[in-house]
């Protein structure tokens, strides 16, 4: 057994995972990483399936269930090819083990993100199901002495019509285990699907409506201590000195330890740990800390936007075309830092054991986290056994690019020399102020129309911190272009003969940034689709037909745009509001993560400028719709998530301090503000793509375009806040 990888620098691992080229070899027998629930069952044809003699069908999910419905989706794919009965299927979380459970789009790393869970698992789980089905059939054929081709399978029952014989999966399980794994299997044609495309219930509903679902916050281990940490008030500040005595005087507090990210108070329960931290006195060294205001940052970004950046895409000569254009328009857009603000604040349970380390949490980047924790404890990554639990939301946060919260938990365990398992709890304030935000961005767009109102020139300059920099995906940055900064802008689908997209990625910012649901598209869809709307108006064209005219080479964009417009009744006038109300309708279309979404938003604006989004009609094309109801749920939720950010969300700084701390000053959408959402799914035979993120990007531009239609006012700064009332 080689241990050479243990001392390999983290940097090399990161480069490997990022480039998807350098294969990392995990030489340890990872069977030992098998956790808790796994037990020998009658038939385990592959890493994703176990069938018990009690007819139970256990499907092993390699991806984190954080609300997006992936347990249901993954299980549907496998159960479909297996021909299992949906009621007999249960889902269990895979142990962290990249050799069996890597994300096929991420090379040798296990993890969930980029709306890839279904897309990367599609072929893998179909084959896993079909192969197991073939082994069950072969077992029945041998027992019944009939040709395998005459055997049918449906609803967990294997049948031979000619002899009238039948057996359940459980009855055949032991015999199936003796069959050879087939080298080739036939996958179903879409017309044969019995689960895919149908409405079947989620697998996590029962546990989640009864309170039985176990989240990280709910883990209790014998002797476990709960830790709450005093974090520095500014990014880059460090502990100068601290007085543990007042904290230790609090009932229930057991220990106070310094760690790289602050001072941890360990107690027998959460409330005592919090009270201990409140009592703790820490003096911070803030000489090198972040000390800027949001306004200064924005001024700096505006300054950068005056000079050319790294070119991400260039076609024709946009400078010449702009100079010759009959009419030019220019607009600047500003986007704030955003917090993910999952309902369950970040947390992690870590315990040192005799032969390694165990961790329980909503792990989203298992392989990366294993590597980071292994380095801290001087273990092999496989000795870091991660139990992936339900996550109370993530929106990108739990795939921490610096493993901040899991590493913090591990540091605390290390500081107490592993004497007790530790549950690190971030209170809402810790979560809100810990950084790893969606980066602040400034966009500057210029465009030219010819005399006929055709769009002939487009220039788009973006200024904002790189999210891939310093992450396991850093090597995707090529020639100074972080693809996650310009996605949606550099991939603008409209036929425009002269176009340039360029980027500044300021590196002097000390604010940690990270992917946030829909990543670059969370800002690029807004600036491009709002600017398009302004241009359509300037050209005297209808926003839908004008877009469609430029989408000839992008039929899937055009398909969702047409469908959304048709279902929203775009051709008919919007019914008028009450006396004094102004109503408006706006549209936007955007592709992200290879899924296509168009939305038409309808708004009502009161005479004082307050407004409500009444209805959002959505059309989505995400390939084969595995679970249409889960897709609808993701689109409904994505609309709510995106509207929340558009209305009020912003993380801002005064003298380097985050101004927001809890939900009173970082306000999330509430039920009264939720619009009616209609979801229409394009029938497709293309391989399935993601749906967790793609519903988010078009919402804000559709709403702001609707507000412009209602009021004539173009909002170019998010959040919308009080811009219409003041």
């Amino acid at each position: 057994m080689s241990r050479s990888i243990v001392n390999q620098s983290r940097r090399r691992f990161l480069q490997g995972a990022a480039g998807l080229t350098l294969a990392i070899y995990f030489p340890w027998p990872l069977a030992q990483g098998a956790v808790g629930q796994e037990q020998a069952e009658a038939f385990e044809p592959n890493a994703f399936l176990r069938i018990g003699e009690d007819d139970s069908v256990t499907i092993v999910a390699k991806h984190l269930e954080m609300g997006q419905g992936t347990y249901t989706g993954l299980a549907t794919i496998l159960a479909e090819e297996l021909d299992a009965d949906w009621a007999q299927v249960r889902v269990e979380s895979a142990p962290a083990d990249a050799s069996r459970y890597n994300n096929l789009f991420w090379g040798p790393a296990q993890g969930t993100g980029g709306s890839t869970a279904i897309a990367n698992s599609w072929e893998q789980l179909r084959k896993a199901g079909a192969s197991a089905r073939a082994m069950l059939v072969a077992a029945a054929a041998a027992q019944w002495k009939v040709p395998a081709d005459d055997i049918t399978v449906a609803g967990g029952v294997v049948s031979h019509a000619g002899s009238g014989r039948q057996a359940t999966f459980g009855q055949l399980a032991r015999a199936a285990a003796q069959q050879a794994v087939p080298e080739q299997v036939r996958l179903k044609e879409p017309g044969e699907f019995r689960l895919i495309g149908r409405h079947i219930p989620r697998k996590d509903s029962d546990d989640k409506v009864t309170g039985k679902a176990i989240f990280t916050q709910d883990i209790q281990l014998p002797g476990m201590l709960t830790a709450v940490v005093a974090h520095p008030p500014r990014f880059g500040a460090t502990v100068k000195a601290y007085d543990a005595k007042p904290a230790l005087a609090v009932d229930g507090v057991v220990e106070v330890v310094q760690i790289p990210s602050g001072v941890a108070v360990l107690a027998r329960d959460t409330w005592s740990a919090k009270r201990g931290r409140d009592a703790l006195v820490v003096e911070w060294n803030e000489a090198a800390a972040f000390n800027q205001n949001s306004a200064q940052l924005l001024e700096h970004y505006r300054e950068l936007a005056r000079s050319p950046g790294q070119v991400a895409r260039q076609e024709g000569d946009s400078d010449v075309a702009l100079a010759k254009a009959a009419r030019t328009l220019e607009a600047e857009y500003d986007f704030p830092y955003l917090a993910h603000s999952a309902m369950e604040p970040m947390n992690c349970v870590v315990s040192l054991t005799g032969d390694g380390c165990e961790a329980w949490y909503g792990a989203q980047s298992q392989t990366y986290d294993q590597t980071v924790l292994a380095e801290l404890f001087d273990l092999a990554p496989a000795q870091v056994r991660i139990h992936t639990l339900y996550a109370g939301g993530s929106f990108g946060r739990r795939a921490s690019k610096n493993a901040d919260y899991s590493l913090e938990a591990a540091h605390i365990v290390k500081a107490i020399e592993g004497r007790a398992p530790v549950k690190l709890v971030w209170l809402r304030e810790d979560d809100m102020q810990a950084g790893n935000y969606r980066p602040m961005f400034h966009h500057r767009l210029r465009a030219g129309l010819d005399a006929e109102g055709n769009l002939v020139a487009w220039q788009h300059r973006l200024v904002g911190q790189s999210v891939l920099g310093g992450s396991p995906f850093a090597s995707l940055i090529k020639d100074g272009i972080d693809p996650a900064s310009v996605e949606g802008a550099a991939s603008l689908p409209y036929r425009i003969p002269n176009l340039r997209v360029d980027l500044h990625s300021p590196e002097d910012g000390m604010v940690p940034v990270q992917w946030w649901r829909s990543v670059g598209s969370s800002h690029t869809a807004f600036s491009t689709e709002c600017f398009l709307d302004e241009l359509a108006q300037a050209a005297g064209k209808d926003p839908v037909t004008w877009r469609l005219a430029m989408l000839g080479e992008h039929p899937r964009h055009a398909g969702v745009l047409k469908l959304a417009a048709e279902k929203a009744g775009w051709e008919q006038p919007l019914p008028a509001g009450k006396e004094g109300e102004r109503r408006g309708r706006g549209v936007a279309v955007h592709e992200s993560f290879s899924s296509f979404v168009a939305q038409v938003a309808e708004v009502t604006v009161q005479s004082d400028g307050r407004f409500h989004v009444d209805r959002v009609v959505c059309a989505v094309d995400c390939g084969v719709a595995i679970n249409p109801d889960v897709i609808r749920a993701q689109v409904e939720g994505g609309v709510g998530f995106a509207l929340s950010a558009a209305l009020r969300e912003a993380i801002t700084f005064t003298d380097g301090k985050v101004e927001q701390s809890n939900l009173h000053n970082y306000e999330l959408l509430r039920i009264s503000e939720m619009p009616t959402v209609e979801v229409h799914i394009v029938a497709s035979a293309s391989a399935p793509t993601g749906i967790g993120e793609p519903p988010v990007p078009p919402l804000a531009p559709a709403v702001v375009n609707a507000l412009a239609a209602a009021t004539g006012k173009r909002i170019r700064r998010l959040p919308i806040g009080t811009q219409l009332t003041s």
């Binding site: 409330w271 919090k274 603000s341 309902m343 409904e636 929340s644 809890n662 939900l663 959408l669």
Partner: protein, 157 residues
């Protein structure tokens, strides 16, 4: 020593009187269905019933629960309304991440206990203190109407 009546059972705990009920439920009594979200009564994830009223356990000192009947998500199925709401939540697959849902359900049950036929604006008022970051509000609204319908059917039969 404080004696509590939780889901119809008497339980005693040795904690300071000002300890929030939330942490007594979760850490002392291991009833972890009630969730911590904000600690400031802003998100509703910790909603429980105290003598039939929806309260935020994160800001309710345990001493206030002394001699009160407390119902948590673990006990809500003891009432027909609780069962109807949970069933509606399941039949519409309301949940996504699920973390806020025990609180949402407790608020919905309290609403329906006092108002068998809530309007959309009644729902907005009663559910306004419960945040769902996944944005399941469309289905929360639909599930409350669905539970109201099923309770009305039961009452009529």
């Amino acid at each position: 020593m404080i004696t509590l009546n939780i889901n119809g059972k008497e339980m005693s705990v040795e904690v300071a009187a000002d300890t929030p009920l939330l942490w007594v439920l979760r850490d002392n009594l291991k009833l972890t269905g009630t969730k911590f979200g904000c600690g400031m009564s802003l998100c509703g994830a910790c909603t429980v019933h105290m003598n039939g009223q929806a309260v935020r356990a994160c800001v309710t000192p345990v001493s206030m629960a002394d001699k009160a009947n407390v119902v948590t998500i673990e006990g809500v199925a003891q009432s027909p309304t609780g069962r109807a709401v949970q069933q509606a939540w399941k039949s519409l697959d309301v949940v996504q991440c699920g973390y806020c849902q025990p609180g949402q359900i407790m608020s919905a049950v309290a609403l329906l206990e006092g108002n068998r036929s809530p309007s959309d604006s009644d729902i907005d008022r009663a559910m306004g203190g419960n945040v769902c970051r996944c944005g399941t509000y469309v289905r929360i609204r639909a599930a409350i109407h669905e539970a109201a319908r099923s309770l009305a059917l039961r009452a009529g039969s």
